[in-house]
Amino acid sequence: MVMEMATPEQLDLTFAALADQTRRAILARLAEGELSVNELAEPFEMSQPAISKHIKVLENAGLVSRSKDAQRRPVKMEAQPMSEAIAWLEQYRKVWEQTYARLDTLLAELKAMTPSPDKKKN
């Protein structure tokens, strides 16, 4: 458990933001590069204000940022909170994977010790 983790509050924000299909689709598109709100709205059957609202949620969670200068103010994906969310999930998963890997080892040992009587019809 030496991994540097985000605070629970940050993770809550990240996961709440990720708990919506449209927002995940927005992120998937931004993974390819920066886009303006108009460009982002295009493939969705949603008004631009509705898309803007989703972007606001992602922005509050730190998952995207918008540049201040240019008037198109492109939206950009921020990798850091996403990485923290992945690290957190991986951590949970890893605990189970390590635990069950130890069980695999034990099971192999037990199988070698106990020739089962009703072997083996395959």
Binding site: M1, P8, L11, D12, F15, A16, L18, A19, R24, L27, A28, A31, E32, M82, A85, I86, W88, L89, Q91, Y92, R93, K94, V95, W96, E97, Q98, T99, Y100, A101, R102, L103, D104, T105, L106, L107, A108, L110, K111, T114, S116, K120, N122
Partner: protein, 163 residues
């Protein structure tokens, strides 16, 4: 070769952990219920050692595990066995000494027999409330999200492939 593990959220209060094993379910069952075997694999993360392992293998029986970690830190948990139906289905309660799960959880482990001497364990952990599931987040067992892990995994894989 490691078998794939899936972890998913179910309803408001459950987490489901599914894994296949290259062994008949009777054997997997014994590894969950015989203290000498439990000690061998269920001790916790690397660096932790099981110092107490009691498992009274019957309906109404109590179980208690204590693990000692780095720096002598101790983590204990235990509960009562509610259903003990070898080799198919076991239901038990669980609570940690430091109650980070927001009260007792109910753990249901179902073992299905598969072809070729294999089996599948489906472990459903039911928290006392949605808040408890979503709030138990200070540890590796943490929750706090509204979506299945698998969905996010798929999204992230997609993203990685695009890079």
């Amino acid at each position: 070769m490691a078998m794939p593990l899936t972890i998913a959220l179910q309803g408001d209060t459950e987490i489901v952990v599914t894994r296949e094993f290259d062994a008949p379910r009777e054997l997997v069952w014994d590894c969950w219920t015989v203290p000498a075997l439990i000690r061998r694999w269920l001790a916790g993360p690397p660096g932790w050692e099981m110092t107490t392992c009691e498992f009274d293998a019957r309906v109404g029986g109590k179980w208690r595990f204590v693990a000692k970690g780095p720096g002598g830190m101790e983590m204990g948990h235990g509960g009562v066995i509610k259903v003990f139906d070898r080799p198919e289905r076991m239901v038990s309660t669980e609570i940690y000494d430091w109650d980070w799960t927001g009260g007792e959880t109910i753990n249901t482990n179902e073992f299905a027999e598969l072809a070729g001497g294999r089996s599948r364990s489906t472990l459903t952990i039911t928290y006392s409330s949605k808040e408890a599931r979503d709030g138990a987040r200070a540890t590796p067992m943490a929750e706090g999200m509204e979506m299945g892990f698998q969905k996010l995994d798929a999204l992230l894989k997609e993203r990685a492939a695009e890079r």
